[in-house]
Symmetry: C3
């Protein structure tokens, strides 16, 4: 914990995903909410099969799901969402002819049954 999943439509062709993931992780470290930088596990997936709405016209999305252990306040979650959205926005510029939606969702991981093991190499 935290776990971050970035899902995006693959028509965001120039997205530098490695850079973006690192920036998202830095934003999380910078929030002061997480004890160890090592704990942040972020991954990204491009979707080749997607459909935004029903009307014609090219559309794109990038969606971050941040899952954190339950117990944080609404205010903290809003700040996390806001800072991650800012990082997305910096990484994904407006593109002529492409309607882009950026979203950030923060959800709780039920703390009681969360199990974890670290195997240092």
């Amino acid at each position: 914990m935290p776990h971050l999943n970035l899902e995006y439509s693959d028509n965001l062709r120039d997205l530098k995903v490695d850079v973006l993931l690192l920036r998202l992780n830095h934003a999380l470290v910078g929030s002061g909410q997480f004890a160890e930088e090592l704990d942040i596990k972020s991954r990204a997936q491009a979707f080749a099969q997607y459909r935004v709405g029903t009307a014609p016209g090219e559309r794109a999305f990038a969606h971050v799901r941040l899952a954190i252990l339950s117990g944080r306040s609404e205010q903290v979650k809003q700040q996390l969402a806001s800072s991650l959205l800012e990082v997305l926005h910096e990484a994904i510029p407006v593109q002529a002819g492409l309607d882009i939606q950026l979203c950030v969702e923060v959800l709780d991981i039920d703390r009681a049954p969360y199990a974890k093991l670290r195997l240092p190499g």
Copy 2:
């Protein structure tokens, strides 16, 4: 919002995913629950690595996760699930020798920390 994720085993070989996603989106628009068709962001992923149960025999699944902002009634969610399952059923015929499971799950997105930005092209 809403976000729809379709996950399916890749032994559903003849699935026309583009058509299916558009039909799912039309079912969501038709529900009258969502203000703008543009808001519906659906994506699909075929899994090459999957295992249904423990017994031998070829099995398949298609699973829709619909994530919507919290606050809708149980009845509305049941109607959404039911209409999406119907669309799945129409798109995925019975196949001899293949045991198929179709599922629809509706889950809430915590409304407070949901952040979104639209970049019209």
Copy 3:
């Protein structure tokens, strides 16, 4: 239900995913919590795009999300998480130079709007 998603970084190169999924399913069957082995739908996804933390050094993760219909006790969920983590641990050995994190999360599927259909072949 249950639905199991295994997400892992693709630097876990020797992972035998087929074997692992079957063992995870056997652990679920062995828990006695699920009426039919057929109901267990597990799938795995390797991520080529991931970033653990912000510091340099090679790191890996394997994360199981188990989604079950709501209503089970905290104790049952903890036992499920613990047995799945054990299976992960057996399948993923310590590797020199690679810092690996294994995690198991158990989450509820809202029972009311869950819709399902089985098409026996």
